[in-house]
Structure formats: C-alpha cells, structure tokens
C-alpha cells in the first residue's frame, strides 16, 4: 500500500468512531498539556535564575574569603604563599586581597578623603573594573591610582562653604598632574589657629592618577584602586607613624596575613568547586553570591522533578488509553483485517494501518495539546505570580515559559506516545489468522 492510502484509510477508520477518537485524542492532549506546562514552570524558574545571575554580573564568578582576625583561631592564614597557591588553582583567573585604607588627597585648593583599595593590579579586569578614561593598573605601577567614577564629587574646597551642594563638581582633571596624598587626617585642612599641619606630619606621597573607572558597579564609583604593594607600604609607614605617636591597634598584615581574599573563577559554574577546594585549605569563612542561587536552584529542582513526574504519569495514562482504543479497534475489525489479508494485504500493510492510526491519534492529541498549553500558560501567567513567588524568592515576570522547543517537544512526545502504544496492537493485528477472522461474524 502507498503511504497516502494508508493515511486515508486510517483517517477514515478514526472518523467512523468519532466519539471514541475524540476521547482518546483528548486523553493525549491532556497528557501533553500536563507535561508541557510542568516543564514550562521549570523553564520559567531557570529563566529567573539566569536573570539573577545576570544581575550579579561578574560578581557571579567571585568568591570572598575572610581570614582569621589573628593567627591560631583555627582558620589558615591568608599570607602571600596562600595567595599564590589559590591563584594557581584550576579555573581561578585572578585572586587578590582587598586592603582598605583612607588617604587624603590634595589637588590645588581641593581636598578629598578617598577610600583606597589596594589590590593585585592584574586582577582588575577580572573584577569588572574597567576604565572610562586612562588605563587600569599594571604590574609595574606603584604610586599610581585609578579613581572611581565619582572622584570629582568627592573633592571639595574646605574654604568654600557652599561647595557641599551635591551638584557642585570640582573643576579639576585628576589625571592631569600627580597629587599629594597623606594618611594624616589633618592633611590639607586649613590650620586651626594658624599652626599649620602637625609638627611631625609624615611627608605626603606623590600619587599619579592613571585612569577613571566607568562606574558600572558600585565598587567602581566611590573607590579608588592602587597596587597592593604600594598600599601595604603606605600602611607600614602609617603603622610606624602611629607607633611614634604612641599607639597602634590596627592589623599587622605582615604578621596576621590578609584580612580577606577575593577569588575570581573563569565562570560561574566553577565557583562551587573552587569554594569547596578553598574550604579544604582550612578556611571556613568562604562566601559567594552563587551559593544563594544554587541553593534556590536545588530546592526548585526537586519540585520540578516532582512536577515533571506528574506530567509523565498523565502521558502514560494517555498511552494506555491509545493502546486500549487500538485493541478495541482490532476486535471490532478482526473480520476486515482477515478479508484484507485474503485479498492481498501484506503483513506490513496491516501493521502500518494500525501504527499510523495510533500515531495519528498521538499527533492530533499533540496538536490539541500545543494549543491548550498556550492557553493554559497564558492563564497561569495572568493569575499565577504568587505561585512562582513560592519557588523563586522575589520573582517577577512569567510563571510559565514555553519556548518553541518545548512546543515541539510536547508535540513530538505525543506522536511518539501514539506510535509506541500502537506497536503492541499493530503486532496483534498482524497475527490474526485470515481464515479465522473471516469465519467470525
């Protein structure tokens, strides 16, 4: 038989038993809708997670380690050797401590107290710190600085009362000439009582501005970045200075190690593994933003599996429905099958007739399922946001997302289920003895 003839005959047989066909097709459609919708919920949740990761930006790749306040507390020490060891770990693209200190900058009449972040210069690009102007720090830099994007708003003229107005911006080019800077709080301030600066004030540093950050991240707005080595050197000067004045209660980097370490992974996927490796080195205080998303993902994944299983069950029920319908059809058509065999139908023809009919039921169910899924998805998205909120904290947007591939999957699955459930009945049909079939009336 030609395929077109098989198709026509199968369609005709389906049409003959309209109600039964409609019922079986509905069964498949419901199964298909169930599985499509359940998966669509998962797709929506994954989309939410992706958006959250996107919102994190380069922070998704980041791990922060907090070292011990003083040695011997239990955690390993974040010293230079440890820094090198962690930098060399697989999938780690950069690692740097962030050493914070405040320096007062003077540029002409303007003064600014800038928060300085001492980091390994090579780590800058990996931390999402990009310049809008000038350049980032390089390994050769020492008393060089890259300003945050808001650097100008931080400069003020201490003699000018009205400069506090936020709109006022200092009229200077921070990259034009090197600035003087000091850790002395009184540096650059008008002397009280005309005494000038402290008698034993340290000599200011001459620091050259080489770049201004783009300010995309909050980190690159208010902070200024200097090479780690330079900041450590200045801190040592500061320590000596305070000790000369009589007291120091700050952290001694050389003895205690770094306070923190920021590690950047090559991609967000590797973050968990790297964090585990770092914990194994003896650090307990290891944090990364991905862990929240991962936790959420794990909890939603088990729910998704459950939902998909419910969908699968309904499709299995539909498959049984098709098989049942087809077996009924065989009982009903036993005589016809026999006659067809006697007048020249081959075993292949008979098998294909039943397979095609079963597959058609699946295909119609799948088509109907695609339509119903679209409707159900729309309804869910209109009224179902609280449900998504249950799965993803702070969720916005669609509860159910059906991409094209999911429609195709739903349809394909239905056809497959039809074909699959047709196998047994079709085999049975071919086994019918032509003779006995004709004798039955």
């Amino acid at each position: 038989m030609r395929f077109l003839d098989i198709l026509t005959m199968a369609l005709r047989n389906m049409f003959k038993r309209k109600l039964r066909t409609v019922l079986t097709v509905s069964g498949v459609a419901i199964g298909s809708v169930a599985i499509t919708l359940m998966i669509s919920l998962g797709v929506a949740v994954n989309l939410q997670h992706e958006q959250q990761i996107e919102m994190l930006g380069h922070r998704a790749n980041r791990i922060t380690i907090w070292g011990p306040w003083s040695p011997g507390i239990g955690d390993a020490v974040l010293d230079e050797a440890m820094l090198e060891r962690i930098s060399a770990m697989p999938n780690v693209v950069a690692a740097t401590p962030q050493v914070w200190m405040q320096l007062t900058f003077v540029n002409g009449p303007y003064v600014a107290d800038l928060q300085i972040n001492g980091i390994v210069p090579e780590a800058m690009p990996y931390m999402g710190l990009n310049v809008a102007e000038g350049r980032v720090l390089t390994a050769d830099d020492n008393l060089q600085i890259v300003f945050g994007s808001n650097v100008l708003t931080q400069f003020r003229n201490p003699r000018d009362r009205w400069i506090w107005d936020w709109d006022q911006v200092a009229n200077i080019d921070p990259l034009a000439i090197p600035m003087r800077a000091s850790f002395d709080f009184n540096f650059g301030q008008p002397s009280i009582g005309g005494g000038g600066q402290n008698q034993n004030s340290p000599a200011p540093y001459i620091i050259e501005g080489v770049g201004i950050l783009d300010g995309v991240e909050w980190e690159s707005q208010m902070n200024a970045f200097m090479p780690l080595s330079a900041v450590l050197e200045i801190q040592r000067d500061q320590q000596r200075f305070w000790q000369s004045l009589g007291g120091w209660w700050g952290r001694d980097v050389d003895a205690d190690g770094f306070e923190n370490l920021t590690v950047v992974a090559s991609s967000a996927e590797h973050v968990t593994q790297i964090a585990d490796d770092i914990r194994n080195l003896g650090f307990n205080d290891v944090w990364y933003d991905m862990q929240w998303i991962n936790q959420q993902r794990e909890s939603t994944q088990s729910l998704q599996t459950l939902l998909s299983a419910i969908g699968a069950v309904s499709l299995i029920v539909a498959a049984i429905g098709i098989a049942n319908t087809m077996i009924m059809a065989i009982y009903e058509r036993t005589k016809e099958i026999g006659v067809m065999k006697v007048i020249g139908a081959s075993v292949k023809d008979v098998r294909r007739l039943f397979l095609v009919e079963a597959a058609l039921i699946g295909a119609f169910g799948g088509l109907l399922g695609v339509g119903l899924s679209a409707v159900a998805s729309y309804v869910l998205n209109t009224v179902g946001l609280p449900f998504l909120d249950m799965l993803v904290w702070g969720a916005t947007g669609d509860v159910s997302v059906i991409p094209m591939w999911l429609y195709a999957l739903g349809f394909g699955f239905s056809c497959g289920v039809g074909l699959f459930s047709g196998f047994l009945p079709a085999r049975r049909a071919t086994k019918i003895s032509a003779l006995e079939a004709i004798r039955t009336s």
């Binding site: 038989m1 005709r12 005589k335 007048i343 020249g344 139908a345 081959s346 032509a434």
Partner: protein, 244 residues
C-alpha cells in the same frame, strides 16, 4: 495455450490435531486445474471442500503434499510476504457473506486489491469503474455497503474479485445468502467474466444447481475425491452481456 495447468495438487493431506485426536480433513488429494475452466467442489459441510480451497489460496499450509501454481511456484513453501503478492496478482475471492469494508464506498471496495498492489489512484479508479459497469453498478459507485442490497453487495464483491485480472477466482458459497433469481444473475456474472478472460474459477458449494454452470464437478467426501464428473456437455448457456 490449451489445457495449461494453473494449479496442481499432489497427494495433499491436511490433518488438524484436536486434543489427542487427529482429524483428517484432506486425505491424499491429487488434482489438476486447467486454465479457463470452471470447477465445482461439491460436498456436504465437513467434507473438506473449504479446506481444499484454503490450501490452494495459500491461507493454510498442507500437512503433506505439494500445491504447484503454474508448474513452478510451490504455494505451500511461500512466505507470508510472497503469499500476499501471490494473492494480489493471481487470486480473486468471492465470499458467501460479501465481506466488503463498511467504511469504504462501492468504488473504493472494488479498488482495494489494486490499493494493496500500489497502483496509482487514477489508474485503479478507472479500472474499478469499468468493473462496476460490468457488474451493472456504475451508478452506485458512491454508495457504502450498508446502503446496498445483498445482491448489490455481492456484485461489488465480484467486481473486487476480478479487478486485478486474477488467474484463479475462488468462490466460497457465493450465492448462499441470495434468492434463486439473484443466484442465477450472480452465476451468469461470475462465469461470464471468467469465460471472457479465460480465467479459472473454483466454486465451493453444496448446491447441486450451481454445478450446472461448471465444466467439471469434483465430489468430495470425508477428505477424499469421490469422483470427478465432466459435465461440460450439460452446461447451461451463460447469459452475459459482457461490456468488458
């Protein structure tokens, strides 16, 4: 070719195991069917005549013996696949209870053997329409079996049996469900077409009346050939318009 043998049976036996007993349906039948002749297998029910027909048509396999089609094809050795092709090309069937497909129209029922032979739609519809004309149902080609009388349904089934121009046509009690007048019409039709195309007709019946249309009557009793009568001399004249 005169006296060309279409089917030859050599010592054919068919034994059905029935629990501990063995029922011998056919016991050493040897027969020759010649092209263009009309045969009548006559016997009471249970004599084995239907079994014989089934064996020749390849619907059942003999327990013993050979069934040779056209001198070289051994029907008892054919695979299911080959048997299907054999039936498509060389065999036509007319049943007692017509056995038309209820979902198909008269025309479609007639084309069915051609559909199995993968004949293109145009060609097969044309052939089937000619057949329907020959059996006098051209104006009813669109009707479903449920919309036709028994006689009309049997005409469709005759059209279906002859549409693929088979070499042999088997008729299993073709008039068992019909009244006398229609019986005569049907016999004229079947035998007329068969004569016109020089086809071999094998008629299974217990109705002696039908023997009058035949060339040879093969009496079967208890699975054996009782006698073979040449009745061609007493044959009635077949009334067939013959548009084919």
């Amino acid at each position: 070719m005169a006296n060309e043998i279409v089917v030859e049976l050599k010592d054919v036996k068919k034994i059905y195991p029935m629990g501990d007993e063995r029922i011998v349906a056919l016991d050493g039948i040897s027969l020759k069917f010649v092209r263009g002749k009309i045969y009548c297998l006559l016997g009471v029910s249970g004599s084995g005549k239907s079994t014989l027909l089934n064996l020749i048509a390849g619907l059942e396999k003999p327990t013993h013996g050979e069934i040779i089609f056209k001198g070289k094809h051994h029907i008892q050795k054919m695979s299911e696949k080959k048997l299907a092709i054999f039936r498509q090309r060389y065999v036509g069937f007319v049943f007692q209870s017509y056995n038309l497909m209820p979902t198909l129209t008269a025309l479609e029922n007639t084309t069915l053997p051609l559909i199995f032979r993968r004949v293109p739609k145009k060609v097969r519809s044309k052939k089937a329409m000619q057949m329907l004309k020959a059996v006098g149902l051209a104006n009813r080609w669109r009707h479903k079996p449920s919309e036709m009388s028994g006689g009309q349904q049997q005409r469709v089934s005759i059209a279906r049996a002859f549409v693929n121009q088979p070499e042999i046509v088997f008729c299993d009690e073709p008039t068992g469900n019909l009244d006398t007048k229609t019986t005569v019409e049907m016999m004229n039709l079947i035998c007329g077409i068969a004569n016109q195309h020089n086809q071999t007709l094998i008629l299974v019946t217990h109705n002696l009346e039908l023997a009058r249309y035949c060339d040879e009557v093969i009496h079967i009793r208890d699975g054996k050939i009782e006698k073979i009568e040449d009745v061609s001399a007493d044959k009635v004249e077949i009334q067939f318009g013959g548009i084919l």
